[in-house]
Subunit: 305 residues, 2 copies
């Protein structure tokens, strides 16, 4: 497993470094950024928080725009910022929009920048679009093999499509993470125009396969099966000025609120509606410290003096 | 003076809004972002800090990447983020690189994204490239006419080419600003490869005209003429890992350090060399709070509880 360093910047006493590597999951060259706090300099193992980006984002959006640095350095927390899809694979048919824009009503919701954190099973996507395996399995091994991180203290968050990714990956791998949070997550992709466009193309027409990547469906199932950890709090921020909250609803936050009530899980969910905030990074950066605080608590971290 | 709202996001309880307007200085449509803290909502006048971007940046880089929001909202401080050059003017000859790249050794150091905060006097640049007038005169009038800002409490900072802009505009308009700071400023453009490329093209071959936009020359002159305010501290951060500090030196930080010593102005300058930091926004965001603190002190602001 060879990592190639692409760039590095000092940031709040630590380092933010971009690497590329050959991924076995996606059969492509993947990029990620990793922030290592100064505490990691002496090879001391530090906890790690994975941050999954939304549609159209790359490994750069979260580190550049979320304002994570001050708080992460105060806690001595590492963060990993993966890309959200394969890039630069061989066939032109994969390029964002090449398939999409040729169809009526299509948008840039498939291909590059739109991995949906799933394992595609339908051609032409099934060769490279294996983002579930990449995020849930391969990347944590790459990180553990190359950096001083304490893999027993791993957490995950995400934004929008990345919120869907963080929640669904957490639910399917509950013992792997200490905590979970999301900004404006896509909670019910099988009922969202985004999912209804991408899921049949990635997975085929059998809707049972779509439910494997749907937070509402996964949560319902695991709760019914008593396969839901009761020692984790789901922490979610949602702006009320988010353009995707209505007309049509692409996020389904209120469906989650109702489900949590139906399942009697109110104590395990903190869903905050933030007045007037939109779907973008000026919303995320406003509340990023709260999310880092949430994860730090579960990771056993305290603020440095 | 009509402003057109392009976009708006809530951010740390305030609003970040992008506007476009027809500029009389540049004879073009200019864009800027303005952050208004929640204190400005009731039309209460708040102090304002102008933030000037470096080469290739637009009105978006500073607000997206500097992490200004938390601290600015704690102080109740407004910030204005201007573009750094005219855009989309009629002639193709203006487009960044169209002139530059046709000449040996040229780079993207002129035209779009490279206004150098001067008033060009040489064709074809002399029609639109009037960024000095725009930043020092026109934009403050636009801001004062349209927003609840206390114009008697105005400060300025900048990065790289924007650091040059902030320092030279401050020196030539010392009564207009309460405080000044810069990140990795270009201090001596007449001796820098950037300036030596852009200045003759914008201003012609008479080097006396270049000195009007050179912090080292302006500082020397005003100090000799006793036309330098003694109640202002120049606050500058410079990373030692900055790729432009050596081979060749394009910033001339040490020239300023020596000049300050020669002029006996040590008490008025705080020049901090930050170990290992580079020229980019991961450097800026690490120290942005210190700069906001610096300005807030001169603007009479205290942190909210």
């Amino acid at each position: 497993m060879t990592l190639t360093r692409v760039s590095q910047s000092k940031h709040f006493g630590g380092t933010l470094t971009k690497y590329s590597h050959a991924s076995t999951s996606t059969q492509s060259t993947m990029h990620f950024n990793i922030f290592l706090p100064k505490e990691a300099a002496g090879n001391t193992k530090v906890p790690v928080l994975y941050c999954l980006g939304g549609l159209t984002s790359t490994e750069d959006n979260f580190p550049q725009k979320s304002g994570f640095g001050a708080r992460a350095s105060q806690y001595g927390l590492a963060l990993v910022f993966p890309d959200n899809s394969p890039r630069n694979v061989s066939s032109r048919t994969y390029i964002q929009g090449d398939l999409g824009f040729s169809e009526a009503g299509a948008s840039s919701d498939i291909g590059y920048g739109a991995g949906f954190y799933l394992n595609a099973t339908k051609a032409p996507w099934d060769k490279n679009w294996k983002m579930y395996d990449y995020i849930a399995k391969e990347l944590p091994e790459v990180i553990a093999s190359n950096f001083p991180v304490d893999t027993a203290r791993t957490s995950i968050l995400g934004h929008s499509m990345g919120g869907h990714g963080a929640l669904s990956i957490f639910l399917k791998n509950q013992s792997a993470y200490k905590s979970i949070s999301a900004f404006a997550p896509i909670l019910h992709p099988i009922e969202s125009s985004w999912g209804q466009y991408a899921l049949p193309r990635y997975l085929g027409e059998d809707k049972k396969t779509w439910e494997e990547y749907d937070t509402i469906k996964l949560l319902s199932r695991y709760a019914a099966e008593k396969n839901l950890r009761d020692d984790v709090k789901f922490f979610i921020d949602q702006g009320t000025g988010d353009q995707f909250l209505n007309n049509p609803d692409r996020l389904h936050t209120t469906v989650l609120v109702d489900l949590v009530k139906d399942l009697g899980l109110e104590k395990q969910f903190e869903i905050r509606f933030q007045d007037g905030y939109d779907h973008g990074f000026f919303f995320i950066s406003t509340f990023m410290n709260d999310h880092i605080d949430h994860h730090a608590k579960s990771l056993g971290l305290t603020l440095n003096a």
